[in-house]
Symmetry: C2
Subunit: 344 residues, 2 copies
């Protein structure tokens, strides 16, 4: 386990999606977050006290979390320099990038000298096997998306808690760095060797004999040309009984690819159902989650209602409006759910 | 480059598909293959002289190629022991498994002692980027399959040579261990980090300004629950203008998964075209390649003719009957090609 309390790193990030790991910790483990570190030109804040490395260490912060991410998971020089400052101030450092902290000689030697630790959250587990797609016991729900960073993790967490409030055993299965930091475990599926994508998810959510649910955090999108392979292997490995489609209304283009528009909800859902049937022939859609944080409440409610009518599925913003209707649909399948003939 | 001549390893393999790397070298680089190594209980042969490690080294073999593979790419103890014997006899050792030769202390120290080399063909290139799916110049053809090991590499090589015989510049782009050993280069796409599948293929077959063709070897199948993520990322990264569907008639079940049947040709082709359109909206199917090596010639010809009528696409066994009709269709698109309305 990574020692808390945490200092959350924002650096110079001007990209709201780029700090999603820091934001996730600030939202879901706020009691473990002492403050945020940002440079003077960083326009963002998580509403936590702004602290220098020394101030944070003096207040008792145990670990600097480099909770920012760009495509490719590189570790730029400035992050290395700031991580070194954290070590010099006496804090451990955690990151979830493809480039590992421990592979930076400067950081490795500083940590060794001072008896501190480097946590590379994106290390996949060893000894993975290839997936087999053999039917296995248990209830599993997977969130899928029209794009990256549309709220799949938030939706999955909200659904997990809502099931628990109904008295249903439910476990959040994290597949990305933020989810893993929040949950304290999981599989960073985009960091496994390509041959083992579906196998990693079969291992993350193995057969479960009880009546409980595994709620598996989706990644990427079948429609994202960078990451669709990850999304498809995850979908096959999850062998989900239920799919929830996540989307952020108003997004101008696919994350990281200017000019590429997002798929329609019906098309995206249909393609996911079609692909999921390879390992889960009876898979069904149980709801739509919209991230409406950029909309006013009335407009958001109207959009949810319209989407619900259009797709014949419960539609909600899981943070703003809860997920009760989706839980109802998950636990009690409706006969007239979304079908392949829904228009786009 | 891996020094030839080669000694090809068959071990104890009783599985014709399990020795496909050794067989590929025996077929396509026969002049570089001195002999085969097999244990007494191995029922298979490539028709090369059976040699012990010592005999092969004495005849001048420079490298033992561990050209066998099971799902997961593990390196069992017996392979390690046999690789050690090869080193002791004075040969280098090459393998294309996920588990690396160099990570075996015994092999690493033996190689170092004797000034020999270990070649891990499945090492992905460093510094890959994520794919972007941005339109790029050049003609690209990709082979896709109903399953693993159905002849995609053979078909791709045959198409490459046939294009060259027509005077068209054409390059084979290898994506698997066998293809890489034959071509002397390529990207082992199933061994890259999952986030970089499509990016690795964009790097393998970048924009080319000439009128030449890149012929990209496909991997796996969109219908294989172990590997579909690799197949989808490869498809998106390839951004193919032309697809060739490969299939082995009569296969009882998907490779490695008893009881799972293969998809129909029309369904498989349609799903590949649909997915390919994400990065290549004008993609078209140009032919079907059947591996009919287990059928008699007349039955094979009848099956090709029937398949051709059914799918309205040229259909051939690339090894038995050549690929001229597919080349015609590739270079001169027909207006009435396979469409989404073809029955299964």
């Amino acid at each position: 386990m990574i020692p808390s309390p945490f200092l959350l790193y924002l650096g110079r990030s001007a990209d709201a999606l780029g700090i999603k790991t820091s934001r996730g910790l600030a939202e879901f483990r706020r009691e473990d977050c002492l403050g945020e570190f940002r440079h003077d030109d960083c326009p963002q804040t998580l509403g936590l006290p702004r602290l220098t490395m020394e101030e944070a260490a003096a207040k008792g912060a145990r670990t600097l979390v480099l909770g920012i991410a760009g495509a490719g998971g590189r570790l730029p020089d400035e992050l290395i320099a700031d991580a070194a400052l954290a070590l010099e101030a006496g804090m451990n450092v955690a990151a979830g990038l493809h480039e590992r902290l421990r592979d930076q000689p400067k950081l490795a030697s500083l940590a060794a000298e001072r008896g501190l630790e480097l946590f590379d959250v994106r290390d996949p587990p060893p000894n993975l096997n290839v997936g087999k797609g053999i039917p296995r016991a248990g209830h599993r729900l997977l969130t899928v998306g029209t794009d990256c960073s549309v709220g799949k993790m938030y939706a999955t967490l909200a659904l997990t808690w809502a099931l628990r409030e109904r008295g249903v055993t439910a476990d959040f299965r994290a597949t990305g760095q933020t989810g893993i930091l929040i949950a304290g475990g999981g599989v960073p599926v985009d960091a496994v060797i390509a041959d083992f994508i579906s196998g990693a998810i079969e291992q993350l959510a193995p057969a479960r004999p009880d009546e409980g649910w595994d709620l598996i955090e989706g990644q990427g999108s079948l429609f994202h040309p960078s990451f669709a392979g990850v999304s498809l292997g995850l979908l096959h490995g999850a062998q989900p009984e239920a799919l929830v489609l996540c989307h952020e209304p108003g997004r101008a283009h696919m994350r990281g690819i200017a000019g590429r528009s997002l798929p329609g909800l019906a098309e995206c859902l249909e393609r996911n159902l079609e692909a999921a049937r390879l390992t889960s022939p009876e898979v069904r859609a149980v709801g739509i989650c919209l991230n409406t944080s950029a909309m006013d409440r009335e407009a958001a409610l109207r959009l949810c209602a319209r989407t619900e009518d259009h797709l014949n599925l419960p539609c909600t913003d899981p943070i703003a409006f809860g997920v009760e209707a989706i839980i109802d649909r998950t636990l009690c399948p409706a006969p007239s759910a979304f079908s392949t003939t829904a228009s786009n």
